[in-house]
């Protein structure tokens, strides 16, 4: 038998073949600080704060890279270890300008936690990077060089994970800096994966929580909030819930506590999106329109098309995304119903995504000169606001979102995971084609071929006797594999972030493949528990679509245009 045991702090532990010392330690509750380590990337071992003492080794070893070997003896908190770790952390603090007062990381900040654990002065050294610039990518993402600790996770996120290569390292030694590339052919698509992988607050969303707070103080405004499908299974993580636990009703209550006047669920708007999109698909098939049709509810993907493959613009569905549909409906249908001037309504979206900030600000979204969505907050920004206001999320009473925009179907919920938009549209297409009498058994409602975390999913589904060739791209990097083979498909879903919105650039940190899996499972649970699982059966959604039609608002509220982007 293999003796797969190592000793950590004089106690024996089992390890699995190939496992790192860090992993064995963490699995057994022994805490080791880490900054550059991330399960999505191969080990870089550059922050050097995870060092431990391994008997027989010369210097200290980085536990994130050291593989456990039989008989290894490790000390994780000897004086020698603590001394070096502490000093490396102090030096890291000196290259990270603390902006804690307004930093949305304040409550989760690893750096501050380590400073406490190691009893560090965070100002042992003078701030080294005080004068470095902030790079802003549109109105969505920013890279604050004055806070960068040179771990390079953002570079890996942008290149290895996303294949965009927009970030690069300029200069060397103390002069190195992560910067947007000088290559004019490359563009940031605002996916925020750099922010999601940054261990400090250097790569981050451009925050809007202060704007929202200001609006809430204005008595003349009705501040309406709508939250994306995926948030219900992710935000709980920031308040001690398990990954993927469904906390919809607590989320709604927390939004009410914060002072939003009305709380709507974007899952409802996702039903509208599904109606529009499935309708367009069927129409394109019938009228021999541009095929394959491609989804467009992911703004990172839209940015990608506009920059890199503008020839695909005609393939994108003209359907707006759920948050824009939601905002549009609020400022037309709902405003009318409530008898308020849409100008006095402020719509705030809580999104898993940084690119949604940009999408909401696009001029062509305006309906009679009013933008449907005024502010977009990421999941992280919302967590921060809740914590900042001392709201005890876990203990909140449950409450339901407001109607009529609260009645959602399971199909709307699964929009949050890779394959979900596709599955939702297929359910409705099936329903529309086969008529209300069709037997939509559980088996027929669940399209397993589009589920899962593979990079590219391909399947053929038969709907009303027609074969539809389906492609689902999970992670923007993989679109490159499909582009040469587009004629093999009828309908393609593309989600920029790995796992879909559930792994979006605005989601809680950490996000990893394992965590994404659990969040997706949560969405499917919510879907299975829903009474109605087909958007076309959502009567309120249908009613609103009809109302828009009667009021000649269909085009303005439900459809959009795209542009070749050259900036």
């Amino acid at each position: 038998m293999l003796n797969n045991k190592i000793k950590i702090n004089n106690k024996e532990y089992d390890f699995n073949e190939g496992e790192t010392v860090l992993s064995v330690a963490t699995r057994n509750g022994i805490q080791i600080p880490t900054l550059c380590d991330h399960p999505d990337f191969s080990v870089k071992e550059n922050c050097r704060v995870c060092v431990v003492e391994i008997k027989g080794e010369h210097g200290l070893s980085t536990s994130c890279s050291a593989k456990a070997k039989p008989g290894m003896e490790i000390q994780t908190n000897s004086d020698r270890v603590e001394k070096s770790r502490g000093l490396n952390l102090e030096m890291i603090f000196a290259e990270h300008i603390e902006k804690c007062a307004t930093c949305i990381w304040r409550f989760e900040c690893k750096l501050l936690k380590y400073a406490k654990d190691y009893n560090l002065l965070i100002n042992t050294f003078s701030d080294r990077k005080g004068k470095r610039p902030v790079y802003r990518f549109k109105n969505a993402v920013e890279l604050d060089s004055s806070q960068c600790i040179d771990c390079r996770n953002c570079v890996d996120a942008c290149s290895v994970l996303q294949g965009i290569d927009y970030l690069e390292i300029k200069g060397k030694g103390r002069n190195q800096e992560v910067v947007p590339t000088a290559d004019v052919r490359k563009h940031c698509i605002l996916c925020g994966q750099c922010a999601l992988h940054c261990p400090v607050s250097a790569a981050q969303e451009q925050p809007n929580w202060q704007d929202v707070e200001r609006e809430m103080k204005n008595d003349k405004k009705i501040v309406v909030v709508q939250f994306a499908p995926s948030i219900r299974v992710s935000i709980g993580e920031d308040f001690g819930f398990d990954h993927g636990e469904i906390v919809t009703e607590k989320l709604v209550s927390s939004l009410r506590e914060l002072g939003f006047d009305y709380v709507f669920d974007v899952s409802f708007a996702a039903d509208i999106t599904t109606l529009v999109e499935a309708g367009e698909l069927l129409e394109r098939i019938e009228k021999k329109g541009v095929m394959p049709m491609m989804t467009s509810c992911c703004p990172g993907w839209v940015n990608y098309v506009e920059y890199y493959n503008p020839e695909l613009i005609p393939n994108l569905t003209t359907s707006r995304s759920p948050q824009i549909h939601g905002g549009g409906v609020i400022k037309t249908y709902w405003a009318k119903k409530m008898n308020v001037d849409p100008k006095n309504i402020v719509v705030v979206s809580i999104m898993p995504c940084t690119a949604k900030k940009y999408e909401a600000s696009r001029e062509e979204m305006a309906i009679n000169n009013i933008l449907p969505v005024d502010y977009v907050l990421t999941t992280r920004e919302l967590s921060f606001m809740i914590k900042k206001n001392n709201i005890n999320f876990a203990n909140l009473k449950e409450s339901k979102a407001d109607n009529p925009l609260g009645d959602y179907t399971g199909a709307g919920v699964i929009f949050g995971g890779s394959g979900g938009v596709m599955e939702s549209a297929l359910r409705t297409a099936q329903y529309v084609l086969e008529g209300p009498k069709a037997k939509l058994t559980k088996k027929r409602l669940e399209f397993n071929g589009v589920r899962g975390l593979e990079d590219v999913k391909e399947t053929v589904v038969t709907i009303a006797g027609k074969d539809l060739r389906i492609g689902v791209v999970n992670g923007i990097k993989h679109i490159k594999e499909l582009i040469p083979r587009l004629n093999e498909f009828d309908y393609i879903e593309v989600m920029t972030c790995p796992g879909g919105c559930i792994g979006g650039g605005g989601q809680p940190i950490p996000t990893s493949k394992e965590i994404v899996k659990k969040r997706i499972a949560g969405l499917y649970r919510d879907d299975t528990n829903s009474k109605i699982r087909v958007s076309a059966q959502n009567e309120s959604a249908k009613e609103i679509v009809e109302w828009l039609e009667d009021n000649k608002l269909t085009h303005k509220t439900l459809h959009t245009k795209y542009f070749k982007n050259l900036d």
């Binding site: 704060v49 060092v51 890279s65 001394k83 490396n88 103390r174």
Partner: protein, 340 residues
């Protein structure tokens, strides 16, 4: 006639770039590696101050160097060999070298301007040739398993290939080249036996100082510092001896020079080296240096740095303190307070 590899083994040849790794083992490993392609790199990046022996060989024995590389190409069945050469040497010697490598598998590769000292480190050098960012990679894999484009790669210093050529023609007599520099009358490159002491080399090259002095040996930045009573040793490392007149050089200036070098040559990948060399430099420039912090950082560098550059920062400084400054009034209290 004995096989070349056996001869190298018998000659006990070790690398002359600084790391002193047995040449035989390196060759053997690459030779035995199973792979479609194999490469050789002759490291002529010579980026450390006061080391000039590679240039000397290029100037005087380029044929021998090329012969050594060609022998390696044959021995390990390499597809290609690169001479990774710094800009200054390229400018001076490329014409001559290009003439000598016609009809061989050897190619010149000019070290990129931004490369600096760290480009001489094996994995950085591979990155440089592959066109990636010039900084060390994690090890393993070692170049002998996975070097250039993932193929087994033999990397040796200029002097090693030169020695191999001598070994092959039975002309090797365990000599090596030494660069003598600094405050001396006849700076230059000298050839003496492998085990010649520092003192003997200074005497025989007529460079033995008549004033109070100390030396730095085995590398003009990373080398150890010895006082004039410690010259009964071999030189080691990359074979350099730099003489410092005690009167002429203020300690703080000497230390600042080393730190300047390390700070500027750090690739910046890892925290202790990128930040540590910067903070050491900052501290030494203060009116009242915080020696306590200074030594704490020096201690941290070899403990946690990613590569040999960071690890070697304290070598000259600590040995300078121990071997030279301990008699210096100004520094005596520092010794007691910091346990040196």
């Amino acid at each position: 006639m004995a096989k070349l590899l056996d001869k190298i083994k018998k000659a006990e040849l070790v690398g002359k770039g600084g790391a002193c790794f047995p040449t035989f083992s390196k060759w053997q490993a690459v030779k035995n590696a199973k792979a479609d392609k194999k490469y050789i790199v002759c490291n002529c990046s010579e980026g450390e101050p006061d080391v000039k022996k590679d240039g000397y060989i290029l100037e005087h024995f380029p044929e021998k160097l090329i012969d050594g590389i060609n022998l390696a190409v044959k021995e390990i069945k390499a597809d290609k060999a690169y001479i990774f050469i710094n800009e200054a040497y390229y400018k001076k010697y490329s014409t001559k070298l290009l003439g000598l490598i016609v009809d061989t598998k050897i190619e010149l590769f000019k070290k990129p301007h931004v490369g600096g000292y760290i480009a001489g480190e094996e994995s950085s050098l591979i990155n440089a040739i592959e066109g990636s960012r010039i900084e060390p990679n994690r090890k393993p894999p070692y170049p002998s398993d996975s070097g250039l484009w993932g193929a087994p790669t033999l990397i040796n210093n200029v002097e090693t290939f030169y020695d191999v050529s001598l070994i092959n023609s039975d002309a090797y007599n365990k000599n090596r080249f030494y660069t003598v520099a600094g405050d001396c009358v006849w700076p230059g490159v000298y050839e003496f036996s492998n085990d010649q002491t520092i003192g003997d080399i200074l005497v025989e090259s007529k460079n033995y100082p008549k004033f109070d002095f100390f030396v730095q040996v085995g590398g003009g930045a990373s080398g150890e510092v010895l006082n004039s009573n410690q010259l009964d040793r071999e030189v080691g490392g990359s074979g350099s001896i730099t003489v410092y007149s005690i009167e002429k050089h203020k300690p703080i200036d000497v230390i600042r020079n080393w730190l300047n070098f390390f700070m500027n040559e750090s690739c910046g990948q890892c925290t202790p080296c990128r930040e540590g060399t910067y903070r050491l430099h900052e501290i030494i420039n203060q009116n009242k240096p915080n020696w306590h912090m200074f030594f704490a950082i020096l201690e941290d560098l070899p403990e946690t740095s990613f590569c040999a550059l960071g690890i070697s920062v304290p070598v000259p400084i600590i040995s300078y303190f121990k071997n030279v400054l301990k008699d210096n009034q100004e520094f005596s209290s520092i010794f007691v307070e910091n346990n040196i």
